[in-house]
């Protein structure tokens, strides 16, 4: 090979190398342009930022600047960033740090920044070439997940505290009747640990066969209807003995709307039931005492009347009034002294007068059902008794053709009751107002806070009662 040829060969090689370098440079620039990363160059000691291409996310730096760290890094984060830089310079190795940076809009975002040192032939750092990707979204979602996790765990602690502190039994079954949760109260009732009892069926946790069977059929029902059920059951507690329980099973649905779990709560209502029974017993005892007292009063009257000149009619009238009082008392006892039905009050009070000599009904009741409070019931019962007694003595019921119509009706706020006698002898107003008319006209009006008018029409007595309509469920 001659010189020319050698020179040509060298210059060809040179040209090829230059071309190769140019292409490499082009590829490098294309790669940098194609990248979404922020690209930067740093002086060997990182004091000077030579250039930064912010990609629209961060402020560009075209001219070298020394205060770059103030521009891009929050003061709080500067020590950490500097520490990583110093370590990279010391070891002449890659700088890599995920840190916060100030973005174009002034807000702080997260970046994963990597920079490699460019070394000269002596191995000294010439400059740093770096790329930083925006990891704000990833950091944000990590933070969101952490916050969500914290909130969930806060809720979990809250519900666990509630569930483990309540004396009520709280539990859940899977679709195969196996317990998948039992709270502390239930575990104590069983005398078992959570691990001993979870995953087991009722019968394996000590329930009697009838009891386990009953709840399993209830679970079937919930799976079929997707509706909660409520029941009451008595069974033995491990420590307390036989107790009465009120329970609710309710379906828990998965995202597709299918029943995934049956959750249950059970409350021990033994004491409530006992208190109710005790109250019933007390009311019974009190009623018994009142009835005995009425019988005692009757006896006192009988002993007082006995052997003296008292008229037998007076004794009979007294006894009849006492019986009327006793009857309405019995009626009210039946409802625990809450209320009594007007029709029943009238029927009871008028029963002794109802049937005529020929066995015919001679008192006709007509009106809708309406409940009266005890005081009204007592007052009306005694009034009906007096009206009927007078009718037997002087009015319609003193003749076989006589008839009494007792009718009532309500409007929005009044109750009107009318006693009307027909078919009896001609009526004359009494010369003297007796016990009955005083009780009816004055006592009844006063007690019922209404008006009562007693008319002695020649064709028959009429008593018109106009009182406030008793409000359902209002207290006495």
């Amino acid at each position: 090979m001659n010189n020319d040829a050698a020179e040509r060969s060298v210059s060809l090689a040179q040209a090829t190398a230059e071309e190769s370098l140019r292409q490499s440079e082009q590829r490098f620039r294309a790669l940098v342009s194609a990248s979404t990363d922020v690209i930067y160059c740093m002086s060997p000691d990182w004091q000077e930022l030579k250039r930064l291409d912010g990609r629209g996310r961060m402020l560009d730096t075209d001219q070298p600047r020394y205060n770059w760290i103030e521009e891009y890094i929050d003061p709080v984060d500067q020590p950490q960033v500097w520490a990583a830089i110093k370590e990279a310079i010391r070891t002449k190795s890659v700088f890599e740090l995920e840190h916060r940076v100030r973005k174009m809009d002034g807000s702080l975002g997260w970046t994963l920044s990597r920079a490699v040192p460019i070394l000269d032939d002596d191995g000294e750092i010439v400059e740093w070439f770096g790329a930083a990707s925006d990891v704000t979204a990833r950091r944000q979602s990590l933070e969101d997940i952490a916050a969500m996790h914290a909130e969930l765990s806060r809720q979990k602690r809250f519900y666990e505290s509630l569930i483990s502190s309540t004396p009520d039994l709280i539990y859940a079954f899977d679709r195969d009747y196996r317990f998948n949760f039992a709270n502390r109260a239930l575990l104590e009732m069983w005398g078992k640990s959570f691990d001993e009892s979870v995953g087991k069926k009722l019968i394996e946790n000590g329930y009697e066969p009838w009891h386990a069977e009953m709840h399993e059929r209830e679970i079937d029902q919930i799976l079929a209807t997707k509706l909660p059920i409520r029941g009451e059951v008595a069974f033995p507690h491990a420590v307390l003995g036989r107790r009465v329980y009120d329970y609710i099973f309710t379906p828990v649905f998965d995202a597709a709307g299918e029943v995934e779990t049956i959750a249950g709560t059970t409350r021990d209502i033994t004491e409530i039931r006992r208190a109710e029974e005790h109250l019933k017993l007390l009311i019974n005892e009190l009623n018994h005492r009142v009835k005995n007292t009425l019988a005692t009063i009757q006896s006192i009257a009988a002993q007082t009347f006995r052997g003296n000149a008292a008229e037998p009619q007076a004794k009979a009238a007294f006894e009849a009034r006492l019986m009327a009082l006793s009857d309405v008392h019995t009626l009210l006892t039946g409802t625990n002294w809450e209320s009594a039905n007007l029709r029943e009050i009238a029927s009871r009070a008028l029963m002794p007068f109802q049937t005529g000599a020929n066995g015919q009904d001679r008192i006709v009741l007509n009106g809708h059902d309406i409940q009266l409070r005890p005081q009204g019931a007592l007052a009306l019962a005694m009034a009906f008794h007096e009206l009927a007694s007078n009718a037997v003595k002087y009015g319609a019921l003193s003749s076989s053709a006589g008839l009494v119509k007792l009718a009532w009706r309500c409007d929005d706020d009044r109750l009107y009751i009318e006693w009307r006698e027909t078919g009896g002898p001609q009526v004359e107003p009494p010369r003297r107002r007796g016990f009955g008319s005083r009780l009816i006209e004055q006592g009844l009006a006063r007690e019922l806070n209404g008006s009562v008018e007693l008319h002695y029409h020649p064709e028959g007595v009429v008593c018109a009662i106009d009182i406030p309509k008793p409000q359902e469920g209002s207290p006495e």
Binding site: N284, H288, T296, Q298, L322
Partner: protein, 123 residues
């Protein structure tokens, strides 16, 4: 009032409250009955059954906290008729005795006589 179905019958009265016992006694006397007692305690009633000749009995259900069912059982064993008188309702009588006649306190002469006459005629 004597000469009725109850005339001459010897009736044991078991009632712990004096005033009510007197009332029953008076009513029974008016019906022409002979009153045995009144007694206020279960053991006295059982003793009366062994020593007295009786045709029937009127029993208060609650004798100062003690029930009179033991007396009722004894009377039933002897096939003797009896009625209960009580301040409790019909529900106050133990289920085993609910088919027996019960007179509610307070009661009239007529109410007692009707109840007695009904069972004495069946006896």
């Amino acid at each position: 009032m004597s000469g009725g179905a109850l005339s001459g019958k010897r009736i044991l009265v078991v009632e712990d409250e004096t005033m009510i016992a007197m009332l029953i006694e008076d009513f029974l006397c008016d019906m022409g009955c002979t009153v045995v007692g009144p007694v206020a305690r279960v053991e006295h009633a059982l003793e009366a059954l062994t020593v007295e000749d009786i045709d029937g009995a009127v029993l208060d259900v609650n004798l100062d906290g003690q029930s009179s069912y033991q007396i009722a059982d004894e009377l039933a064993a002897r096939l003797l008729p009896f009625i209960f008188v009580t301040g409790y309702g019909g529900q106050g009588i133990a289920p085993a005795y609910r088919d027996r006649p019960v007179v509610q306190k307070p009661f009239t002469h007529e109410m007692l006589e009707q109840a007695l006459a009904k069972f004495m005629s069946h006896a």
